[in-house]
């Protein structure tokens, strides 16, 4: 059993890191442990940040929230809701998809770079994150950004820390620009479109002035009905939502013909459930096979899926107007994994292996390999932030040429 440390403060965490350097020990860093994304980490000890918790600033009139990284996501969402505000990027809950338990922390959301369907409208997690504090690989506490939404003072390490999966430092505090919740949220449901047609419809909607807050497509194979469903979310004040829905229906009918069936989900709970399912990739929970998260230019999503379907058994779900493809590869083999990477690479996208059935995950990189110079830059940055190589070794790149504890 590995040693598990649960520091209660940033100071205590700094001491732990310094001790680890002294003892030449590597550290696996976890928040709530609900999103084990990336290569498997083998380390001497585990640091759990969930005891560094508490919200220090919540100013609804300034749309600002500052919290310690170990604060649970649930607590933050509840607090924001008391003032009718929320984290606009709609962080996904991957517990069902990845078969994990526990409570997600806000630090984990940041480290994992987790954004949901609304990112196409309001930006991703990294776009709403405005400040961080973290402990680097020398046990030194560093701050960057702050609590204001316009800030160009010095380099933007806030973005760099977002989605760095604990390989650059251990987050202790995060600050967000939050947004008001919307009065009304409805979903337009278009029936029976092919993936390619769905992409066209989503592009048309996203190219309209109607401020689309979600554009996703679920092919028939994954729906309870026998037809595919393309979902388009419209949010805002009540009258405005009604107006925009009617305009959108016209645009879609013009594009796909008047025989196209379009339903509108006006029930708040049901509409919210649709997007929760898309956000959390519910159709792939407990499904057999490997799950990939693919990021491509929106119009390339369906092309990639079609190309892969000709070679292997896959199921797919589209979000972000087609730019995010969740792919279930039923037969999880190295060969198939390599084909997925190559196909996605051909359109300059990237594919992350989120969950594997077999031991593919041990043999290939979880993250899409980068071009050589970019990979070098990333490794050199890690060497600057974590000179002893003690944080989450190999999580983002297992073929890294870095030797651990070289300076220790």
């Amino acid at each position: 059993m590995k040693k598990l440390e649960k520091p209660k403060s940033e100071d205590a965490l700094c001491d732990l890191v310094k001790n680890a350097i002294g003892n030449k020990q590597t550290l696996k860093i976890i928040g709530g442990g609900t999103r084990p994304i990336g290569n498997a980490v083998v380390a001497d000890s585990v640091i759990n940040t969930s005891a560094i918790k508490g919200v220090s600033i919540f100013e609804p009139g300034a749309l600002t929230l500052v919290a310690n990284a170990g604060t649970s996501l649930e607590e933050i969402q509840k607090l924001l809701a008391t003032e009718n505000q929320h984290l606009p990027f709609e962080p996904a809950d991957y517990r069902g998809l990845l078969g994990t338990k526990g409570n997600s922390t806000i630090g984990g959301v940041v480290a994992g770079g987790v954004s949901g369907p609304r990112r196409i409208q309001v930006g991703a997690m990294r776009d709403t994150l405005i400040g961080v504090r973290f402990v680097n690989g020398e046990g030194v506490a560093i701050k960057n950004g702050g609590r204001v939404m316009k800030n160009v003072t010095g380099y933007d390490l806030v973005k760099l820390m977002a989605g760095s999966h604990g390989t650059l430092g251990i987050l202790t505090e995060v600050a967000f620009k939050v947004l008001p919740m919307v009065e009304k949220s409805n979903t337009l449901l278009v029936r029976g479109l092919s993936d390619v047609d769905a992409t066209i419809v989503m592009s048309k909607a996203l190219g309209s002035p109607y401020d689309i807050a979600g554009a996703a497509h679920t092919p028939a194979q994954n729906t309870k009905n026998s037809y595919a469903v393309t979902s388009i979310r419209v949010e805002g004040f009540e009258k405005s939502v009604a107006y925009r829905l009617s305009q959108l229906k016209e645009i879609i009918a013009q594009e796909m013909g008047s025989s196209i069936i379009i339903d509108v989900e006006t029930n708040a709970k049901k509409s919210s459930d649709i997007w929760k399912s898309i956000r959390d990739v519910t159709p792939f929970h407990n499904a057999k096979g490997a799950v990939w998260k693919i990021s491509v230019k929106p119009t390339d999503g369906a092309k990639v899926v079609n190309a892969l379907s000709a070679i292997m058994q896959v199921k797919s779900l589209y979000d972000w107007g087609g730019g995010l493809v969740w792919l279930l590869v039923e037969e999880d083999t190295i060969t198939n994994a390599e084909i997925v990477r190559k196909t996605v690479g051909n359109v300059k996208g990237h594919a992350t292996l989120m969950r594997a059935e077999n031991d593919t995950v041990l043999k290939i990189e979880a993250f899409h390999p980068q071009a050589k110079r970019l990979a070098n830059l990333s490794n050199q940055l890690r060497a600057q932030f974590d000179p002893h190589g003690i944080f989450n070794p190999q999580l983002m790149e297992k073929t890294s040429t870095r030797t651990m504890l070289e300076a220790g």
Partner: protein, 494 residues
């Protein structure tokens, strides 16, 4: 003599000017190289005109390959490189030193691809901000970040400084609208980060480069997010006698769940100057003016403005006036965007750019008025109220060296006040040289050390815009390295 110091130029590099110019001409042709003193003088400063120094030479490459060639030469010889967009930086981001080459991207000004289906445009980085919106106007799209200098400023500079604008409360700043970039590293290697997809993958190097003030690499092409134009937009003017009440009104509107695209604030002095200049119909009998703009269809605009008016009424505004036509709306914005020019008609001014938490607005405004009296210098305020990004304009006489020094001191005090209030030194203009020596007000040595280590990775010899952003004493040991090292190498290869 101004008080912001630049490092002593390297006389040995200056002595080799002929040879360096010859190398540059060989690489990119003589039409791309400016080296006569009567011509390099045009590049002696940017919009921070108090500081000037002509560079050794100017290189204006036409292609990414040429940028790569220029950087390769400069790296080999050890010449500092000052990247330059359109030279509109208010922070001295493009100020040269006498031993440096200015690398301008002005000739890289083409649209590479417009892709409405994926809502993006790929451009060369010398294109101006406004011309990007212009290129997609026929498709009913626009590029959201809208700095006041948008007519002139280049995308390269926008990326270097992570520029904002009046409408970023809703649409974000440059970093939120940048999907990909082609970047030339100091050693000449060309890298591509991101592209048409929403995330670039791996560590967020794109987010790191955006706002790095030209110190990490030279961006030659950018993939930018474009947005469908809203059906319509309408501003409303709210005038108050008390700046504090105006501040509370801003906060109440935000709390109510409305997110206007812009919420701009002007104080009495700025209102009068702008009205005089632009005849925008601003009320001149108030001490604080809010310009609040909402977007959507006519009905949606009516609904949102109705809500805003209901909230505003509780604060008893002296003036509450909706724009009645597109012409009037244009005038209202013309007035706001001309604010800096209008103030320039009154006197010389220095424009500050701190951000504060909006809840501290009343305190900071009050304190600034007190400081104005202490220093005996007038200060006008024009700023983005929704996000707390202040632009205090300190009026002074540039021909009076004492007053200029007093003005710089006053400015520094204002920025310190912003940091004390929980904000930052610069919201959208960048650090450059202007705020370089104040960085330690906001950051401790370790916060800066980790940032400088980032530069070590991208530009180990500290040749790209080396004397900017970090206080000279913090960066000294790094900047010192290249000269001896490279001079030796260069000699050896000769």
């Amino acid at each position: 003599m101004a008080h912001i110091n630049m490092p002593e130029p390297d006389q040995q590099i200056i002595a080799r000017k002929r040879e360096i110019v010859a190398e540059l001409i060989k690489a990119i042709g003589k039409e791309g190289v400016i080296h006569e003193p009567n011509e390099t003088i045009a590049y002696e400063c940017d919009a921070l005109t108090a500081y000037r120094c002509p560079p050794l030479a100017v290189a204006l490459p036409k292609t990414t390959q040429e940028v790569s060639k220029v950087l390769t030469i400069c790296k080999q010889i050890g010449v500092p490189v000052i990247p330059r967009g359109s030279g509109t930086s208010l922070a001295g981001g493009a100020l040269p030193t006498a031993d440096s080459i200015v690398l301008g991207v002005a000739r890289l000004n083409k649209v590479i691809e417009i892709d409405y289906d994926n809502r993006l445009i790929n451009v060369q980085s010398g294109m101006t901000n406004l011309s990007v919106s212009g290129a997609v106007a026929e498709g009913e799209f626009f590029y959201a970040p809208d700095p006041s200098s948008q007519l002139a400023c280049a995308i390269a500079g926008n990326i270097a400084m992570n520029s904002g604008g009046a409408h970023c409360l809703k649409y974000g700043v440059t970093t939120n609208n940048l999907l990909g970039a082609k970047v030339v590293m100091m050693d000449g290697e060309i890298v591509e980060i991101g592209g048409g997809q929403l995330d670039a993958g791996g560590l967020d190097l794109l987010g790191l480069i955006c706002g790095s003030e030209g110190q990490l690499g030279v961006v030659t092409e950018a993939t930018l997010k474009i947005l469908p134009k809203p059906e319509g937009a309408r501003p409303i003017l709210l005038g108050f006698d008390d700046p504090e009440i105006a501040g509370t009104c801003v906060s109440d509107i935000i709390k109510s769940g409305i997110l206007p695209v812009a919420m701009e604030y002007m104080d009495g002095l700025a209102i009068k100057a702008c009205e005089e200049f632009a005849k925008a119909g601003y009320p001149t009998n108030v001490e604080a003016l809010l310009i609040i703009e909402v977007e959507g269809s006519q009905e949606e605009i009516d609904e949102q403005l109705g809500k805003i008016k209901r909230i505003a009424k509780k604060h008893k505004p002296k003036v509450m006036r909706e724009s009645e036509s597109a012409v009037q709306s244009d005038l209202i914005w013309k007035g706001r965007k001309a604010a800096f020019g209008a103030m320039g008609q009154l006197a010389d001014y220095m424009c500050m750019d701190g951000t504060i938490p909006t809840s501290k607005l009343p305190f900071v405004l009050k304190r600034m008025q007190e400081m104005s009296k202490e220093y005996g210098l007038r200060v006008a305020n024009v700023f983005h109220a929704g996000d707390g990004n202040l632009h205090p304009l300190i009026l002074y006489n540039a021909n009076d060296p004492k007053e200029m020094q007093k003005c710089e001191e006053f400015g520094a005090e204002i920025l310190k006040l912003c940091v004390e209030a929980g904000g930052c030194l610069t919201g959208e203009h960048g650090v450059g040289i202007e705020k370089r020596d104040l960085m330690n007000v906001q950051f401790n040595d370790q916060d800066m050390e980790i940032q400088m280590r980032v530069k070590d990775v991208f530009d180990p010899d500290w040749l790209l815009n080396p004397a900017k952003v970090f206080p000279l004493k913090n960066s000294q040991s790094r900047r010192g390295n290249y000269r001896e090292h490279y001079r030796e190498n260069y000699k050896a290869s000769e």
